[in-house]
């Protein structure tokens, strides 16, 4: 083992998912005891990079990766996260992987419990060893001490505050004997300020002990405060790799969101509106992972209104809440008429339509044909595509009309399929998205919510989807609210863009403002706006 080699080095790591390049030539290294800040927008490739490091099975299932990973100078390639753990690489996930009914001790030592010998092991194997509770307690205490927090090791996780859960999880990684490198994925997102403070302190302590840390965070302040080196990823490439003391928040923000200015030409002409159409007051939505806390908006008739922000900040909660798919409260008015919440039917009756970000679970009937998918909402809500039978005694599905409308949209949106009777699950992501759009268009809504319309689809389809939306807006005068993580996409199509941060609007700007302004809003760095903290 060469002492000069860095602890971890990645050389030209490249990864594509079926031709869709998500990582290109990523090279960096991290020394013992170094804290590396990894930042980037959602979809920049951070998660994929970590998945490659840990040898998650998804990576192998999708054809592996290119390039090399060296741990202490030796090339490594893990087949499963467990192998990475054996080599001393630990990860703390965003979503807790803790057992609620187990105590902190039991969770920290999960599957690594201290045990005592008894004779039964000779007969039935090592798993018959009995737990050594006393020893486990000491080990857990030691690990908790290492994190540098006060935590009762006998409390069941279900009774812990969120911060303690996070600490428990970190303690679990630290308890592993040979831990050299720790990956913390957004550890502070769920913590209160004082808790985050404690965590940062303990990170510093760990780095002094020689443990390297890869710190993924959207809170740039923390990145600046604690890391030795900052790495900015965008579109699968390393945009910036600098010692942290030589950069500042603005520069990082710029690097994160700034893009080549090719889209600039497509920018919509500047339009002005003055007829408020949809008014939202003090909306809260309880959507797991996308909580909306307090949002007020005023959207004009005929406008394309963009909502952006980082993942998990609540932008997706807004349409889901207004459309009644998640518990919500507050006030929503259309043309002065209040729309009852928590009932999708009311929302649909108010001539709103929604293209969900979750195509597979919400947007489509995967096991049913395309024509069903397109016509279903229209049939249920507006009693269309039905034909009277026996002199109007009752009405049956009009398969002909359904097929016709499907064919119409297949043509209009260039949906690639074999026939309108093809099952939705057999389509590619882009074509599925078009089906979802067609379903919304069929009901001819006054207000159309489109959530992440281009997520996971290829460039060509992206353009068709965006163009279709724009065209639809221009032709029918439909108010469109588009929610997307891709700022440039929003800027290319919207009139105004609101940025959501921590469940609140951190600012609303015309789409023509420079990217950097939005970038700062996303990172919660602008204090001038009223209700951001």
């Amino acid at each position: 083992m060469s002492q000069n080699a860095p602890l971890l080095e990645m050389r030209n790591v490249t990864k594509d998912f079926f031709g869709n390049v998500v990582l290109k030539d990523v090279s960096f290294s991290i020394e013992r005891g170094e804290i590396l800040g990894l930042v980037g927008e959602n979809g920049a490739g951070k998660t994929t990079l970590m998945k490659i490091l840990f040898g998650m099975t998804v990576i192998q299932d999708t054809g592996g990766y290119g390039g090399e990973i060296l741990l202490e100078g030796k090339p490594v390639s893990y087949k499963s996260p467990l192998e990475a753990l054996d080599d001393g690489i630990g990860m703390v996930h965003q979503e807790f992987s803790l057992l609620p009914g187990f105590t902190a001790t039991e969770n920290i030592l999960l599957n690594r419990e201290s045990t005592n010998y008894n004779f039964m092991t000779e007969l039935f194997g090592d798993r018959m060893r009995t737990l050594d509770r006393a020893e486990m307690k000491t080990r857990a205490e030691k690990a908790i001490e290492k994190v540098g927090v006060k935590l009762d090791e006998n409390t069941p996780v279900s009774e812990m505050p969120v911060g303690h859960k996070q600490f428990t999880e970190i303690a679990r990684e630290l308890e592993k004997e040979n831990v050299k490198l720790l990956v913390l994925d957004e550890p502070t997102a769920v913590l209160t300020e004082s808790e985050a403070e404690i965590l940062l302190k303990s990170m510093r302590k760990l780095s002094e002990e020689g443990i390297a840390i890869i710190f993924i965070s959207h809170r740039l302040q923390e990145i600046i405060e604690i890391t030795d080196k900052t790495l900015v990823l965008r579109d699968g490439r390393i945009i910036q790799e600098t010692p942290t003391d030589q950069t500042d928040i603005e520069e990082i923000a710029q690097a994160m969101v700034g893009r080549e200015i090719h889209a600039e030409g497509d920018r919509a002409e500047v339009r002005t509106f003055n007829a408020p159409h949809l008014i939202v007051n003090n909306l809260w939505v309880d959507m797991p992972g996308e909580t909306v806390r307090n949002i007020s908006l005023e959207i004009n008739k005929g406008e394309i209104f963009g909502i952006g922000g980082l993942a998990g900040q609540g932008k997706l909660g807004i349409p889901n809440g207004i459309m009644g798919l998640y518990p919500a409260g507050g006030e929503v008015r259309i043309d002065g008429k209040t729309i009852p919440l928590n009932n999708p039917r009311e929302a649909l009756d108010a001539s709103m339509a929604f293209v969900s970000e979750d195509r597979r679970d919400v947007g489509l009937l995967l096991d049913e044909p395309i024509d069903w998918n397109i016509s279903f909402t229209g049939m249920q809500m507006q009693k269309r595509f039905l034909k009277p039978v026996l002199g109007g005694l009752f009405r049956l599905r009009d398969d002909k009309a359904i097929e016709d409308i499907a064919n119409h949209y297949i043509e209009a949106l260039e949906i690639k399929c074999m026939s309108p009777r093809q099952k939705a699950k057999e389509l590619s992501g882009g074509n599925q998205q078009k089906v979802c759009l067609a379903k919304a268009f069929v009901v001819e809504p006054d207000i159309l919510f489109v959530s992440e319309p281009t997520r996971g689809i290829d460039v060509g389809a992206k353009k068709i989807v965006l163009d279709t939306l724009k065209e639809y807006n221009r032709e029918k005068g439909t108010t469109i609210i588009i929610i997307s993580s891709e700022l440039e996409e929003l800027r290319s199509i919207s009139d105004r863009i609101a940025i959501v941060d921590e469940g609140r609007i951190s600012g609303i700007l015309p789409a023509s403002e420079p990217s950097k302004a939005f970038g700062l809003l996303m990172l919660g760095k602008v204090d001038s706006k009223g209700d951001s903290k």
Partner: protein, 346 residues
């Protein structure tokens, strides 16, 4: 993939094996000295008897409530209808229609309650349905003893109170359907009325599945979140499907009785759900997808095996293994379906 594989894939191994097994039974039968005409006749009759009970699976499978192990609840509604019709003194074929009429409100009420319960336990429907079926049968055992029926053909002869375990429907609705337009060729009797009635109900359900509500039902079963986002009231749709299933169960048992000739009370309906569940699965349905074709094929295959195995086996090896074969085939089929759920979806 060659065409043969494709056929196998589409039909599914179990259905293919069972189909071939039945076919081989029909081929062997003449050599074993079993009369084809009687076997075919028996198969047809049993197909008619059970067809609607199998059909009762369809609405609930469609709306995502899983296999209707709670069929006994519907059967109980049918039993109430049948016994009440007799109690009220209706006779002849008329009593059959009165029975259906009387069973309907019970089926609707039971189905509504049962549906409301299932809406509160989404995800655990099948096990709960089984035990709801069992407990309602056990509860009705008490009721059959206590309810003040007094038609002498129905109550215990020796001065006791309570209904008999088996009540003959002779003079009431025995063969009310079976004899309608029945065609006799030698000892082969084609129960036209019953078959027509079964086909009619199958057709009605098929039509219902094409209405707006029926379409919503399929969507709820296929993807409840999608349905909700499209403005469908999921709980209401599920409840309608359960009511429909229960009502079909009630009619199913009445059709069964008019052919069989007896009303079986007390523990009679206890295990009745299982053959129906097995039949529709053999017909090619899965826990969350079923069609009318599955009903017809399944009822025919399953009942065919039940009729053919004992007669052929008996004459071949002088041993009646039909009961054992029935248990293994039907439950094996259910296990097969249960272990295969959710492949592809999600």
């Amino acid at each position: 993939m060659n065409p043969l594989q494709k056929v196998v894939e589409k039909t599914g191994w179990p259905r293919l094996i069972i189909g071939l097994f039945l076919l081989s039974l029909f081929i062997i039968a003449p050599f074993a000295g079993v009369k084809i005409s009687t076997s075919l006749n028996d198969t047809l009759v049993r197909f008619g008897m059970n067809g609607i009970l199998v059909l009762a699976m369809v609405p609930m499978i469609h709306s995502g409530c899983g296999l209707n192990f709670g069929l006994p609840l519907g059967i109980i509604a049918g039993l109430l209808g049948g016994t009440l019709s007799m109690q009220l003194g209706a006779t002849g074929p008329m009593s059959f229609f009165i029975a259906i009429l009387l069973a309907t409100p019970f089926a609707v009420i039971f189905g509504w309650g049962y549906g409301a319960l299932l809406n509160r336990v989404k995800g655990g429907e099948m096990m709960i349905a089984t035990y709801v079926g069992f407990s309602s049968v056990a509860f009705m055992c008490i009721m059959w003893l206590l309810l003040p029926y007094n038609n002498p053909t129905m109550i215990w002869g020796y001065g006791g109170t309570g209904l008999r375990t088996t009540i003959s429907v002779e003079g009431y609705y025995l063969h009310a359907l079976s004899d309608f337009l029945a065609i006799r060729i030698g000892d082969f009797v084609f129960p036209t009325g019953m078959i027509l009635f079964v086909l009619l109900l199958n057709f009605l359900v098929w039509v219902f599945m094409r209405t707006r509500t029926g379409t919503a039902m399929t969507a709820v079963g296929s993807n409840p979140v999608f349905a909700k986002a499209s403005g469908v009231n999921i709980d209401r749709t599920r409840t309608i499907s359960v009511i429909l299933s229960t009502w079909l169960g009630a009619i199913g048992i009445l059709v069964y009785q008019q052919s069989f000739g007896f009303i079986q009370l007390y523990m009679g309906p206890f295990y009745m759900a299982f053959p129906a569940v097995a039949a529709i699965l053999i017909g090619g349905a899965s826990v969350n997808k079923a069609s009318i074709l599955n009903v017809l094929i399944g009822a025919f295959l399953f009942q065919g095996i039940l009729t053919m195995t004992p007669s052929v086996m008996n004459s071949l090896i002088q041993t009646d293994m039909s009961e054992v074969i029935r248990i293994i085939v039907s439950n094996g089929m259910i296990i097969y379906a249960l272990t295969r759920v959710k492949k592809g979806a999600k």
